[in-house]
């Protein structure tokens, strides 16, 4: 027998390993490490947190580039990409949150005003106290022009509320102290503490807000650089267009002073095709704009010689000369303009180049460094299945099962749920066994009579009715309609009894059939044994045979059955608990299944399997101890 027990004990770790391996395969191999991480630390986590968790767990290992990136982030060189979004949402939400604090302060002010009127503090005292505190805090006195101006700025105005309330509370405290009313003093102390908390919280929130605004501004800078480049380019384009038109005007002006004849000669002598084309356009312009002063002068000369009237011609000459003068001036101006514009364009081009360079740098920062952190997935390798299994094993041995979806530790949830479950299952199990043994003995006692038959038939009928339907009808008729029991609910301590009676009764009814069947067969087997015949032959009474001989021997299979069942009682009853809203482990498990809360299910399965397995072992050993006839093969 010792060898048998030893062998079972040696088997045990292997089977335990197998059980853990099965749960490992079911829970770990079918989901990615990322989803596991999410199930452990919650859905609303950043990639960064997930990878941190995975690294801590040893489920991933970083490559060299990955390590560098992480180091850079740790040193604050790289802002995470998500910071922008965080900042954005914070900027949107914080004013609202702050406003809530201010609103609370304002409502508190009303309360304090009421209290002040209750304490019959005069209005002048209040005014004086408020003015003093405002002076201490560096706020403008109430009613002054500055205060009115400050009111335009919302935060300033709200900050002054805190000062007002503070002053008033101080005044209240003073009056309470004067009166010597201890209760009032305590009450006001509490009020002051509450107000102080409120103020501190609002201040921290405001500081945080400011910080985020700074961060957001930095990000804004990158965006602004982009706008700079755009603006410079636009400016450059318009200036460049001005430059081109000035150039055109200049060439037109130059044409006025160019002699078409000379140009023609030049064109004829020119052989280069490009220059020829240029000269041709200049010639065309010159033909259009050329004012031939010499020709007019010669005409005047000839006209004078012929004594003709030269007035018109002279006027023409004067006009021409004036036009040439104007043209010369304009030419000069245009040349200056051109020079200035050329400088402008050059400068703008330089600016543009600088801005573009800045922009490229900023873009590079955004693209290569900020964005690439999110691409960190490429910079690690998953660890192999063996390491994963080792980690899983250590987690189980250290009872680390993570958190539930409501972010409570699974272990504490299991511990809390265990007691209501035990309160239900322990009495239910023992009562059911008691009744089962009784009816089993009864059936064996009156074997092959109508009593036996009716017990068998009722047990088979009860076995065939669906348990869930039975619970529904029981709850409906016994609790809801007839009002014998509360329908659902639970209470701590002794009050739980009235909630537990019906579930326990239903548990007994549901398991009745199977139990009776088992017990009856076990007992009938014993009644056919030789020792029973011997006992009867000795002339012992039927009762002595039944209770002293048969019953004692049937206890062996019964005890082994109980040994298997008892350790898993803490898991509760999945269906009964959820029907009667008993906050035990069964209810919790059904809840977890419906919410697909993997951590809870895993913990329950692992605990259930391990306790079931240990119970199996214990029952084997008990069996061997109780019945030495067990073959030790």
């Amino acid at each position: 027998m010792f060898a048998y027990i030893m062998r079972r004990l040696i088997y045990m770790p292997f089977i335990l390993l197998g059980v853990i391996l099965i749960t490992f395969m079911l829970f770990q191999m079918t989901s990615t490490p990322e989803t596991q991480a999410k199930s452990y630390i919650g859905e609303k986590t950043s990639q960064r947190q997930i990878y941190d968790w995975l690294e801590n767990k040893g489920l991933i290992s970083w490559t060299d580039t990955g390590k560098q990136k992480i180091e850079a982030t740790a040193n604050g060189k790289l802002p995470p990409k998500s910071a922008h979004f965080v900042a954005k949402s914070f900027l949107e939400n914080t004013p609202i949150e702050l406003q809530e604090f201010y609103d609370e302060a304002e409502s508190m002010q009303e309360d304090v005003d009421d209290l002040l009127s209750e304490q019959e503090v005069s209005a002048d005292d209040i005014k004086m106290a408020v003015a003093k505190t405002r002076k201490d805090e560096g706020l403008p006195p109430l009613g002054s022009a500055e205060a009115k101006e400050a009111k335009q700025i919302k935060t300033e105005a709200n900050a002054s509320i805190f000062a007002n309330v503070e002053a008033k509370i101080a005044l209240l405290q003073a009056t309470a102290k004067d009166k010597g009313d201890k209760q009032l003093i305590e009450e006001f102390d509490e009020l002051r503490g509450k107000h102080g908390d409120l103020k501190n919280e609002s201040i921290t929130l405001a500081q945080k807000w400011q910080k985020t605004i700074d961060g957001a501004r930095q990000e804004q800078l990158i965006l602004t650089l982009g706008y700079d480049v755009f603006a410079t380019a636009k400016n450059y384009a318009s200036t460049n267009a001005g430059l081109q038109s000035t150039k055109k005007r200049l060439s037109a002006l130059e044409a006025i002073f160019a002699n078409p004849a000379a140009l023609q000669v030049e064109l004829d002598s020119e052989s280069d095709a490009d220059k020829k084309a240029e000269l041709r356009t200049r010639l065309a312009l010159a033909k259009e704009h050329f004012i031939d002063v010499v020709a007019i002068e010669t005409t005047i000369q000839t006209a004078k010689a012929e004594n003709k009237d030269t007035k018109v011609l002279e006027k023409q000459l004067a006009d021409a000369k004036k036009a040439i003068n104007d043209g010369k001036e304009e030419l000069e101006d245009t040349r200056k303009d051109l020079a200035a514009r050329t400088v402008d364009v050059a400068k703008l081009r330089e600016d543009g180049e600088i801005a573009t360079a800045k922009m490229t740098a900023a873009e590079k920062l955004v693209k290569t460094e900020i964005v690439s952190f999110e691409d960190i997935e490429a910079d690690f390798t998953y660890t192999n299945a063996f390491t994963k299994f080792r980690i899983y094993l250590f987690d189980i041995f250290n009872l680390r099962f993570g958190d539930t979806l409501n972010s409570r530790p699974v272990m504490s949830v299991i511990y809390d749920g265990m007691w209501p479950s035990l309160m239900l299952t322990l009495p239910a199990f023992f009562l059911a066994e008691l009744i089962g043994v009784f009816f089993g003995l009864f059936a064996a006692m009156y074997r092959q009579t109508k009593i036996d038959t009716s017990i068998i038939v009722s047990s088979i009928l009860l076995m065939s009715i669906n348990g869930i339907a039975l619970i529904m009808f029981g709850q409906k008729f016994l609790a809801a309609d007839l009002n014998y029991f509360p329908v659902t609910g639970f209470a701590n301590g002794i009050g739980a009894v009235r909630f537990l009676i019906l579930p326990i009764f239903l548990y007994i009814v549901i398991t009745f059939g199977e139990r009776i069947r088992f017990n009856r067969i076990v007992m009938l087997d014993e009644t056919n044994q030789d020792y029973v015949r011997t006992a009867r032959a000795k002339g012992l009474g039927e009762n002595t045979v039944l209770f002293k001989h048969i019953f004692r021997n049937t206890l062996i299979p019964l005890i082994t059955r109980w040994a298997v069942a008892i350790p898993s009682l803490y898991l509760g009853s999945l269906v009964l608990e959820s029907f009667f809203s008993i906050p035990g482990l069964g209810y919790m498990t059904v809840d977890a299944i419906q919410n697909s809360d993997a951590n809870v299910i895993r913990a329950v399965v692992v605990f259930g399997s391990i306790s079931f397995m240990i119970a199996n072992l214990v029952s084997d050993v008990l069996y061997a101890v109780a019945d030495p006839r067990v073959k030790l093969s």
Partner: protein
């Protein structure tokens, strides 16, 4: 196995034969269920108070060729549509219509005077309308012998279709688990030594996990795995409800083979040193042939017994899983869905007891027949196996 003698023993037992008759009849109805009840009958949620539904109602009932979507039925049309089919009640009247004979027994029952909607937004059972002939032996009293569901589908239609699903639910897991158990048991028992040790290790490991918890863990992990879903989809199960049900059934099959394989292994060990096996070996037959053609028929009674009892177990598990809310989806008219959905219906103020009750009775009859027949079979085939 002396099958003829077994049959003789069985025929002598009246109860077993009755159970066999019930099983055969229900098998017939399970196979032919869709001839009696078509898919349209199960979707027949004709709510006349809703215009869009009325249009559908009209279309299917009167003018099946009409495609005019802007068709607005007049009052006369509605009356015509309703009265054209003498068996038809309007949707509101059919939703949660109590069994006719129940109305006949309780004509002035206060409950039936409540109309409109219950707390859960579903319609209440209708008023017992005076001008209907609710005499107990009148025709109308037996129009809906089991009442109607919330969709206005007669419960007996749903039960009949559920019977087919119940057979599928019983069959697939038990078949699968039998196949696995036979393969495992045969190899372990026949080859012995290291193979036996390995398989026994697997068996005792799986047996160390409570069945329900193993099932839950399995379904939880398998249903969340996309690759398995895709595999099933590529195998032809395109409907998601069917796919999830298949998945659950396969998982039940994969987790319940342990007990049978232990029995088979023990029996094979007994048989493998018998003369007929030695003779077969001496004749030079291959291992596979000896295992499948010589040993398997001699241990097959175990498979049959476990099969009939596993059938009932799988149907019970389906009810449990439906209640817990994994696997079988509420769109399928399984008995488990009817039972687990009955919880809220039973708690309504005019209590709607009929879908739950009749589903329970149906499940009761089928599982009783199967378990009694299985017991009789076991007694006839192998009296030693009685536990």
């Amino acid at each position: 196995m002396p099958w003829k003698e077994v049959l003789k023993i069985l025929i002598k037992q009246k109860l077993a034969m009755m159970c066999l008759a019930i099983i055969l009849v229900s098998t017939f109805f399970a196979i032919t269920a869709s001839w009696f009840v078509s898919d349209i009958d199960l979707q027949a949620n004709h709510k006349v108070d809703d215009i869009s539904n009325l249009r559908r109602f009209e279309k299917t009932r009167l003018t099946e060729e009409s495609d005019d979507l802007n068709y607005q039925p007049s009052k006369a049309d509605i009356d015509a549509a309703v009265s054209s089919d003498e068996n038809s009640l309007t949707g509101m009247e059919r939703a949660y219509h109590p069994p006719g004979w129940w109305l006949a027994i309780h004509p002035d029952h206060d409950h039936w005077k409540k109309t409109g909607k219950g707390d859960d937004g579903k319609p209440n059972p209708p008023v017992a309308i005076d001008n209907r002939d609710w005499a107990l032996f009148g025709a109308k009293a037996w129009r809906f012998p089991m009442g109607c569901t919330v969709d206005g589908v007669p419960v007996h239609y749903k039960l009949l279709r559920g019977l087919r699903l119940a057979f599928i639910i019983g069959l697939i897991p038990t078949l699968l688990s039998s196949i696995i158990a036979v393969i495992m048991g045969l190899t372990a028992g026949y080859f012995g030594k290291l193979v036996d040790d390995l398989i026994i290790y697997i068996i005792s490991t799986i047996a160390s996990i409570p069945l329900l918890l193993l099932l839950l863990a399995f379904i939880q992990s398998v249903s969340s795995s996309k690759s398995i879903q895709q595999m099933l989809e590529s195998m032809g199960a395109e409907d998601k409800a069917i796919r999830n049900m298949l998945l659950v059934l396969i998982v039940i099959g994969l987790t319940t083979w342990v007990g049978l394989s232990r029995l088979v292994r023990a029996e094979v060990i007994k048989h493998k040193n018998r003369e007929y096996v030695h003779a077969a070996r001496a004749l030079g037959y291959g291992t596979t042939r000896i295992m499948l053609k010589h040993i398997l028929p001699n241990v097959f009674h175990l498979v049959i017994i476990t099969f009939t009892l596993g059938f009932v177990g799988a149907m019970g598990l389906e009810v449990f899983l439906s209640y817990v809310g994994i696997g079988v989806e509420s769109t399928l008219p399984t008995w488990g869905q009817m039972i687990s959905g009955g919880r809220l219906e039973l708690q309504r103020d005019p209590s709607v007891w009929w879908p739950l009750t009749f589903a329970t009775i149906a499940l009761f009859i089928v599982s009783l027949a199967f378990s009694l027949f299985g017991d009789a079979l076991r007694d006839a085939l192998d009296p030693k196996l009685r536990t």
